[in-house]
Symmetry: C2
Subunit: 281 residues, 2 copies
């Protein structure tokens, strides 16, 4: 029987929970964050980051995270092999493999690999070059109705300021702009933390859906996120929402890119991300 505290746990905290048994780390997929053929990649990324941040040897703040999605993660438990590869005076380099038992019982296979960097964030020259889009506050935007959807998309409120996905007439050959601006928040409100950044960097619909005005087979192959704020500064922002800006530069030979920015309501650029995606179209 789940304990009362388990029931109170936010679905995102449940999805990104890491347990340690005999020195080995494990996570488990969450049906709340299920996507087409596996868990939402943002939940996987956040779980990997959690495994690094809760590691006993970790010092410093999350600076960079690259996750390579090698194969669909199957429902259930997975191992998270975390290796501190190199530590310097001010930074640590981590390599992570996500592993599951092979379906044919032939042993463990890698379903995702990742590298992460944690670093001391010392006071320095500061300069925000990018400017936050001048958008209306989230309170003035209705969330997208996700009733027709299932899984992970129901765990977020998507308040599109621009670049709402539209399902076009299939005879219309015109392509739309891949760029979207939207307020992102957990459907059940939760204060944004470093794990939220790792997950929300992936919480955009495939840019190819926007461009073509329809769904096609699609998946993230690799995602890299840089963190431009530390945990204490982010906690001080005390927000449950971020402005996300997603865009794409090119689609070619079955792969396309995506770029993303995450902004606090106060106007601070807290994470930037890019991913390479597979599509069939």
């Amino acid at each position: 029987m789940p304990s009362a505290s388990d029931q109170d746990l936010h679905p995102f905290d449940q999805a990104t929970r890491v347990v340690v048994e005999n020195g080995n780390r494990f996570g488990a997929t969450s049906d709340h964050y299920w996507a087409f053929v596996g868990p939402f990649g943002g939940a996987t990324a956040a779980t990997i980051l959690q495994a690094v941040l809760t590691h006993g040897e970790r010092s410093g703040e999350a600076l960079a995270l690259t996750v390579n999605y090698c194969a669909p993660v199957r429902r259930g438990r997975f191992g998270i092999d975390v290796r501190l590869v190199r530590a310097n005076r001010s930074s640590q380099h981590w390599s992570v493999d996500l592993v599951q038992e092979a379906e044919d019982g032939s042993g463990q296979e890698v379903v995702a690999t990742a590298t992460a960097i944690t670093a001391e964030r010392r006071p320095s020259f500061a300069h925000q070059v990018a400017t936050m889009p001048d958008v209306v506050p989230s309170s003035e935007v209705k969330p997208l109705v996700m009733d027709g959807f299932s899984g992970w998309t129901r765990q977020y409120d998507f308040r599109f300021v621009s670049g709402l996905p539209r399902f076009r007439d299939p005879t219309d050959a015109a392509l739309a702009d891949p760029r979207s601006e939207l307020w992102l928040s957990d459907h059940r409100p939760r204060r944004i933390d470093m794990l939220s950044l790792a997950a929300m960097a992936d919480a955009f619909f495939g840019r190819i859906f926007h461009v073509r005005g329809g769904m096609v087979p699609f998946g993230t192959v690799s995602m890299t996120t840089y963190f431009h704020i530390d945990a204490a500064e982010l906690a001080a922002e005390n927000t449950t929402e971020l402005l996300g800006v997603a865009d794409a530069q090119v689609f070619s030979r079955s792969y396309g890119d995506q770029t993303a920015q995450l902004w606090t309501p106060s106007g601070r650029l807290v994470a930037t991300s890019q991913q390479i995606t597979y599509f069939k179209a």
Copy 2:
């Protein structure tokens, strides 16, 4: 005595050469591509990509490369441990460690880690969203005079179209735009190939030098490059130069980002890249 073919070898091919001995892969730093405290990160990235692309089990094209620079690579030889982590129907996931003997003789230590993805590039829907900057051809731009510089910067011709680095009056507090547009080519002409893309994605001066108008201690911590063309298509472009566009979004707490695009003269976006950089300022 170096053989005639060694002397004829382009410095970039020499710098990125991978030799195999008893199944183990090795590279070596090149004085031609030396930077402040170690080799030019682009040469290291290209050498890692070379080790993957020349691996006997490799199939498919370079799609994504992330290199984490853990510590300065010392002059001389280094091991390149290449591991095929997972192969699917259409893609392969690689993990790479660059290793050198510790200076204190305590054994091998990791100086860089990397992940790479190779993939079949099948015909598909194609759409180039980004537009190439409307710039003058390289023939109309004089290369930056690199006489005051040494090492890797002398291996390239940098023809700035915009965003030329300027050394400002230290009493001038105004910050400059981090964006640069420049034609990039090997100083000794060499046809652009996938290795060039991996290297040239890093062949930009630190954006913080541009913003502040002066040099500060600086280094790339991690770089991720996506390839939007395959080797045969790139060979067919038959070019020795690329237009590079570099920019930055934010500098905060000792770290800043850099984004880059590489364009062929024919107007094709062939690689996009981002990196997180350390600075002391």
